[in-house]
Symmetry: D3
Subunit: 319 residues, 6 copies
């Protein structure tokens, strides 16, 4: 005699139904069980290193909630423009690993936790796909790759984030690229889309030049396109991609800490990410600086979720 | 002895003054009195067929309220770019016919009412100009033309809306084009501006192709322009135009149910509508999926109102 | 052979359906046609006399929109607590007369128009029930009664509104009671619910006392109740009632120009209005200072609409 | 050799950290695994039966998110006023069972699913604690108890919800008590806190009286307190408790579909729930009509989450 | 020959006009020039010690902006209820001293700065009146009194704030009273208005009792009133008053980090502050936890500004 | 013996810290002390001449608050794209002169005050940089140059603002260019970026043509660029620049009174301002029509602040 199955058969699971995980993928907050997944989504809800607006601690939750609109099952997602299905179960297995722990009122210990968490994901053989949090987290997540092969950082941002220190603070959200540049396993940095006065100080700009940062300002990027903007990197390059949502125009990304007018459109961003996915070996990525309290219509969270899926689809298709 | 006239002479009637009707045009909720009008504005405030966000039931009211900013009198509206006056009393007589009735908790009966309402407007010899509501309403409004000459549907949308059924539901807001394609009086469908993964499933895409839907993806539309995108249709074609506000970019249309980044700009939309107005015979139109609760600054409602007037001006000028 | 009736039979007309008028009552913007109505709703959307926040020009529209939630038909509205039906067609005929015209950038002419408009309503034999607008409008609406029998003003407000002039301006929203006190047909003023420092200056307070304003501060009103607070007026007194929504607590009325914490609850307000309706002869009323831009959840507009209907129900029941 | 544990020891798990489940309790969306839990949280995100505002489909998610602020571990929650710890692991084991599935554009099938889901929870031996959704869901959740011992419904609401049908619709959000009254296993209904005109029609009121609904209007409830208001029920009575958030004052519950001014305070609600928990046998409960789009500061969701925990703490302490 | 005076004579300086300082009082950001002032307003915009919502770094600015609505000149503010003028130039000279500096991403150094800043104000002979910021700042501001005569802290809050440490952090916003209790110059603590489960853990509660904290829970405070609640302190007691805006009900204070339903009304708060002002010697005060991003209508900032002026008026009148 | 300096050394003064002035520059509300400054920021918070939305009275404050994000010290602001530092103390000394006084309920006297205020700034030898307020203020600020050498007005706007009068009002926010055209010291007007139907009436358009206004519609401006659009003016031309924020697209400027879809992008605006700064002699400028109540994410205020600094940097660099 069989036991009655209590679960509902043939659920629709519309985007507003059910517990939230990234794109409706399996939750796996026990990191000892991650093995076998290709990608692990990790939230790092730190926002205490911001120099202006805060609220990015609620970024991982808001991006997850928005991503439910794009939730998908084992059949993947169809793109009619190239008549191709992405993100099928054969292409990639994504799990949501929950969040790195945050120690309140102590940014440095919270950042150390982020390093530990990313190492756990790497140890499990997954690619970390990280949701911030403010941009300080990248100095911690990149640090987790210290035992891996060298990586180049592709940094998409309205700002250089190359501050050495201010008033003794070297771990603010304006410093992740400076800190990364000091790490032995970081072989170089490409900064795409910075713009406008005050995106970097003269002193920090000179330090970035001295380091060898490859810079493509926003308007040059717009003129020459994604391919030319990344032509300096060899195919197959191991890259870590750090995406500050403020690289995008405030018209589609108002929910962020330090707004810079004149930024990327959705398609400009999508084309960059596709170029990266097709030419390089992506070993990790982060999406930072989404601040839900300043995003009344949710367009910023939706943008981050949409681009994350575009990027993952491009990375893993045929992979 | 004459009776004193109590009304104020020479009213300014600024946009924030007075009872609301579409663009300040005459209200006519008694459909037996519609005869003589060229265009009848009809609200269809149904939002129970949406798969994600709701609130489009308040769309007709919000668009009307926004349209008061563009209210005009018998002299029409001047366009300095072509030194022409549109929407004068000689060009066109517009009335606001109020709303189709909605039966709560019963989408199908509400949709049936919409069909009945549009038939009343057609019976009166007016062109129905319909304000949604979610996109399910189009299967009902198009159905009302079953006794008319065949029509081609020009469908402007981020999505294909060609879902056959999900879990037994064939009347969701993702199905209006599928349902329309099954109607004898619909001679064909052109879908403009769909984009991005998940705008259609592989199965539904193949069905649309099998039906013969003419598809112009967003980026192709942007590259080739409005004229080329509609060149496949003969001049004078009888068309019904269904405009989902999510065809537009969320930067100018955040107030909608299912946001898709990377959409049309105002001028791209305006150029399409002008091309339609100048080359084809428009027998009806709808503007759907405006959701006021997600539109804190009112830009979405204003966009719908502005484009509606642009469209009506282009249709009726010299008509 | 009968002509087909195009209108829908047995409409539900849910609160979100149809063109907006106060509580869904008949619109009558042609004031020559008002005769026969008992009450005429009149919007006076002036907000250029405010000393702080503005936006009250959108007050009449927002209150009307909220009132649609309480729309009713000829059968009236049932109150189970006293098992009585109010606002039936036998009790009272209410029409929505639209708005007084506003002359932008000229507060004084706009106020003069308000006087003219109220006179038109009085000329038609209706009771004016006025929706503001900032409180300056009351000096204009009260002035319209100059050819009527004397009236006492019951003024419900967080402030005294008894400013003589500031920098030569005598028609600001802080002066309506001062201006009214100077009118021959105003026999007296009762101010209910003022409170807190800065609700009146010493000089204006002394002027109010010299005039004979009967003042019941908020906490005394709360302690002694509505009946005691109005015991100084004889039954049958002809009264005009001016209600500033800032008399109510900001917890239920955040959408107003000059917030004063510690105000009336809904039931305190309702009890005052019921006492007024039962003991006095109400010849006009206004509800002012609702500012929709500061009312994100719409509770302020709903409060004004709800109290307006409570008040009208109490006035006309058995009347 | 031991394997390294990848998980972080001694996590703080602050309220903004981690995947969301009700109060941070274990998620269990596989209903075959529910056995052993005392309480199962179930979302029923249906909002297509609402007569006015919608958005309650996002209610379960918002309440869960807010409840994370009150998340707790195995040690429970301390209340200093009675120096007692509630909700410890010994007292009660709560799991979050996710949501009942929703069939879009078909309210009746969605409601049928809710019945099925609650039966699954009952089959597992848990007490269903349900998060709506609009109030129509209660006719479905109560129906799930048809094989159980009779229950009395304690219904806390601004309205009677005793509508028989409107335009042929008998399953709207104004009808759950009427439908429940027709069920054999419902032995009676107590309606607490209804108020104001239009909370019930004369016809429906007479039907409620004929049925024997015990009614305690808001102001009487306020005057006599919780104990007297429930004195008519015998101790130990099996009760199902249905709480419409619009029973509470809009000052603390603006985020709801059909606002009614003058409602319950937090402590009034808490006292009622404590009285119920202490005197009766609670076999199920629902919290309905929380609409996040109208709740900009999140106070409504927080109120529902807070009261749910107060109620569960009171039910299970010493149980 | 006289030089023309370029300044405008007889300015109205309405609340929306001019640069912002607290209540329009003189700005004095050079702390060497503070001497002669009675009260110095000091912002401490730290929010990195919060366990949940943030944004309180914008609290000082929002309170100042709101206070402009209550700006006053040398004549002070009239209160008609006791026919008295408060806050005249003879009573008290208030200056706005700007903000303590914040070191981003380093809560401890930011707190150390707050101590330094308050010492500067004390050195100038002014009474510090401090605007937060999250509640962690109080451990810093109280520390600044270490060279002064002993002080008793009157702490008005929904929570005990008596956490010793969590995960090694002893300077979170839940710990200011614990830290203060350890300071030699703090002679005792009275905590008013805590409430509800989770306002304190059992362990911390026992520590507070061991220390001798005098606790008056919200409902007891409501029952017995302000005078009885403070009767345990001798008249003339030197007190520092720390007011967490979450002591107030979320209906009037939604804009805060950790909302607790069921809190103080405006008048309850005002009565407590008046009792304190009249019976004790106030040597400093802070208003903390106002978070503007969660305060869409500005009522929370207005509440803080209003109560601050009520308090200052009561302290200095006749002083 | 030296006195202890109470001020904090080496302050970070993050954007959220300290009292607000434009870009953190020195406040100087005593206009007798302005001499020596190059630029004086002046707010003119008038919004009573608006024909639709209001709230621009809060524009100056919101722009100042946003500008704090771009605050800078004596070293100026670095632009990496041209490796140049702008806005250093050697380039330019900017002071914030506070606001012109506003006479409530009297637009004409408030405008007269604006003329007086700008004259005070000119008298001090500063360049007035004015923050509105609605666009009516420009007729007042331009009038202040009547004793100066002739000026050409470069007017950037979605509308012509060339209304002669409406209902006797000649000082509305639609008339500043008409009034300016009548002033002897105004040698001509260039209107950039008007667009769409209803931006000007036929009558007013003909008047503008008769006057000789040089008009560059939005789409022509977009096609031909900034340089060609200003080629008709000789280098070195004395210009006053009036920028209506509604010239910009609502996607980046939703917070304004009269939205017009299809407007300028940030870079289009920046290029125009740079061209003006490099070729002409700018003697004054205004930024008008920013309405904070419609700008929930603050992007509009940030846009105005950012462009103001771009413009000032371009004007004064090497000047």
């Amino acid at each position: 005699m069989t036991i009655k199955d209590r679960n509902m058969a043939d659920r629709m699971d519309l985007p507003f139904v059910g517990l939230v995980s990234f794109a409706g993928q399996a939750a796996c907050e026990d990191w000892n069980q991650l093995d076998g997944a290709d990608v692990a989504i990790l939230g790092v809800p730190i926002d205490t290193a911001s120099s202006y607006r805060v609220g990015t601690r609620f970024g991982p939750r808001a991006i997850r909630e928005a991503s439910m609109f794009h939730s998908f099952g084992t059949d993947g997602v169809f793109d009619f423009e190239d008549e191709t299905t992405y993100l099928s179960a054969e292409d990639v297995r994504i799990v949501d690993a929950g969040d790195s722990d945050v120690i309140y009122a102590d940014t440095k210990r919270s950042l150390a936790n982020a390093t530990t968490a990313v190492r756990a994901l790497l140890d499990a053989g997954t690619m970390p796909f990280i949701l911030g949090g403010d941009h300080s987290i990248t100095m911690a997540t990149v640090a987790a790759y210290s035992d891996e092969q060298p990586i180049h950082i592709i940094h998409i941002d309205a700002h250089f984030d190359f501050i050495d220190e201010r008033n003794g603070i070297s771990w603010g959200h304006g410093s992740p690229m400076r800190r990364s540049s000091e790490m032995a396993h970081v072989s170089g940095i490409t900064t795409l889309a910075p713009r406008n006065m005050a995106s970097v100080s003269r002193k920090d700009y000179q330090a970035a030049k001295a380091y060898g940062t490859h810079v493509v300002p926003l308007r040059r990027l717009r003129d020459q396109g994604a391919t030319a903007s990344l032509a300096h990197l060899p195919s197959g390059q191991r890259v870590y991609v750090s995406i500050d949502i403020d690289a995008f125009d405030p018209s589609i990304a108002p929910g962020t800490a330090t707004i810079s007018h004149g930024g990327l459109s959705y398609y400009e961003g999508k084309d960059i990410l596709r170029e990266i996915a097709q030419r390089f070996h992506v070993v990790g990525a982060d999406f930072v600086e989404v601040s839900p309290p300043y995003d009344p219509s949710g367009v910023t969270s939706l943008l981050a979720a949409r681009l994350a899926l575009d990027f993952l689809g491009a990375i893993y298709h045929g992979g």
